[in-house]
């Protein structure tokens, strides 16, 4: 059964130096607050896994938490590049970053295999591309019935997967709706899992299109309102498109990034609630005002 913990306690208990960590959420419900808590707790040597490493991983990579990234699309969606990611790949700053690169179909199937307790998945993928030349986790497999050649990719089984959801009940059952991405598979593939939620409620009212993760399939739940900001939580808040623009200006330079780290992440440490009662709301998790955006330009 899932334990209800504060975000700080959950990250402290579940995420260790050297772990393979997946934060999932496909545009929707990206667990940004959890990512920043990992930075705040100064985790190191993580292998980060994510289909779409966007701002959340730019922050973790820039803060030096990662030694490796397993991914299929790394960018600031609708804006451009991830400057911290590029700086790490091109200049090994602040630490070298090894990459293992797949396609979305490959990554999704790697999670499916992980969730299914299988060592690998089969797909029609990568054909004719240069990816298999550089990614050793893409192999060929022969159909034992037709002789056809297909691609095989190994299961992903993170030490810990972290997702954000709309709600949980007090027993730790999790409810998600809207775009659900690969979150169920990421949680089921992992050895441990943390779900941050907008709110913990007495009863989960059914919502059309909902996905339920039973409490016994989750390790910990933490209540973190606005925990997906600047991404969105359907039914709670919209995507803060301005933040994605703003991030471009922050991430572009090492100085502005380090200032951001110091102001918006590390300085929040003292405000973390100890008892898990009053949820932490970081100063960074406030909609970027037009003024801030302008200033950033």
């Amino acid at each position: 059964m899932a334990e209800i913990l504060s975000l700080r306690d959950a990250v402290a208990r579940l995420v260790h130096d050297g772990d393979t960590v997946a934060l999932e959420g496909f545009t929707h419900l990206i667990p940004h607050a959890a990512g920043q808590e990992i930075i705040r707790q100064r985790r190191r040597d993580l292998t980060l896994v994510r289909m779409t490493p966007d701002i959340v991983y730019d922050q973790l990579i820039g803060a030096g938490c990662a030694r490796k990234l397993i991914f299929s699309w790394g960018g600031n969606p609708g804006v451009g590049s991830l400057h911290r990611f590029r700086d790490a790949v091109q200049n090994s700053w602040p630490v070298p970053l090894e990459i293992e690169e797949h396609s979305h179909a490959g990554m999704a199937n790697r999670y499916v295999a992980g969730a299914s307790g299988l060592p690998f998945a089969v797909l029609r993928g990568y054909t004719g591309t240069d990816l298999p030349k550089h990614t050793s986790t893409i192999k060929q497999i022969t159909c034992p019935f037709t002789g056809e050649q297909l691609a095989a990719v190994p299961a992903l089984n993170p030490d810990v997967s972290i997702i954000h959801a709309q709600r949980a009940d007090r027993a730790g059952n999790v409810q998600i709706w809207g775009l659900v991405g690969v979150q169920k598979e990421a949680v089921l593939a992992a050895k441990r899992s943390l779900v941050t939620v907008e709110e913990i409620v007495d009863e989960l009212e059914p919502v059309p299109g909902q996905l339920i993760l039973p409490s016994w399939a989750v390790t910990a739940v933490a209540e973190v309102p606005h925990g997906a900001h600047p991404s969105y939580a359907q039914g709670y808040y919209e995507r803060d498109n301005g933040y994605y623009e703003y991030w471009d200006s922050i991430g572009r330079n090492r100085d502005s990034f380090e200032e951001w780290l110091s102001d918006k992440v590390f300085s929040m440490e003292v405000n973390t609630s100890d008892d898990g009662g009053a949820p932490l709301v970081s100063a960074d998790r406030v909609r970027v005002s037009r003024k801030a955006q302008e200033a950033a330009k």
Partner: protein, 254 residues
């Protein structure tokens, strides 16, 4: 034609409108991020109201009333016929060949329609520029019946041979897709801000088949990184109609 001496539209608008026109009503279209999404949504609001939009974020039949800000904009889920998981969209819907058109963008495109969105520079380990990577594109390019590419054209983006094949087009020529066992026809249409290109039926090399109104073949050549062949039946793109421009601008403003 109602074009005055001063053009009332941008080349990007012409590109989006030409791209939108290429989609036929009722087709199932797997929509990539950025330019393709603009074009597909424009098509749905003009001549192709029953175009079925499929997004890799897991939406089938989205009918957004504004331009989605990202591939996973909430409006796509809220207006979809069905919302499904990301593994399902790739495994049950894309992979078996249920989608007519894969609509992709590109950072780099070569004369055989191969697409690069991974690295600029020959050394993958030490790239000149690290690009976002593959996303859904390799399998979209493999599995859709046809692939349309929409891209802003320059010598840097339109190259003899891509530095990295992220999504396989026609390889180094006709017949390579079949040899690799790929089911879809690959890139059959490329739309840029200057014109329209189609693979030569004999060689699969991209050939200029349309120039946009007001663009010269010489301008296109100058923005092409290989010795461009021009179709003997070269035509000129019909300029945007007022209705197309109005709809596009409303879409982008919303």
């Amino acid at each position: 034609m109602s074009v005055t001496e001063e053009r009332t539209y941008t080349s990007d608008e012409m590109m989006s409108i030409a791209a939108a026109r290429s989609l036929r009503n009722g087709q199932r279209c797997f929509v990539g991020i950025g330019l393709p999404s603009t074009a597909a949504n424009l098509a749905r609001r003009t001549h192709a109201p029953d175009l079925v939009l499929v997004y890799e974020s897991g939406t089938l039949g989205s009918k957004p009333d504004r331009l989605p800000a990202s591939i996973g904009d909430g409006i796509l889920a809220e207006t979809a016929d069905a919302v499904i998981s990301v593994p399902e969209v790739f495994n049950y819907w894309l992979q078996p060949g249920r989608i007519d058109v894969g609509f992709l963008g590109a950072a780099q495109l070569d004369k055989f329609g191969n697409i690069n969105t991974t690295v600029i520079g020959a050394d993958y380990e030490h790239p000149k520029v690290r690009l976002p990577g593959a996303g859904g594109a390799p399998e979209i390019a493999a599995s859709c019946h046809e692939v349309y590419v929409v891209v802003r054209q320059s010598k840097r983006s339109f190259v003899e041979q891509v530095d990295f094949i992220t999504s396989f087009g026609h390889g180094r020529g006709k017949g390579e897709r079949e040899k690799l066992g790929l089911h879809g026809a690959g890139p059959t249409l490329v739309i840029t801000d200057l014109g329209v290109f189609r693979p030569d039926p004999e060689t699969a090399e991209l050939v200029l088949t349309e120039v946009h109104d007001g663009v010269t073949v010489e301008q296109v050549r100058e923005a092409t990184g290989w010795d461009l062949k021009v179709s003997p039946e070269l035509s000129t793109t019909e300029p945007p109609s007022e209705a197309e421009l109005k709809t596009l601008r409303e879409l982008k403003a919303a």
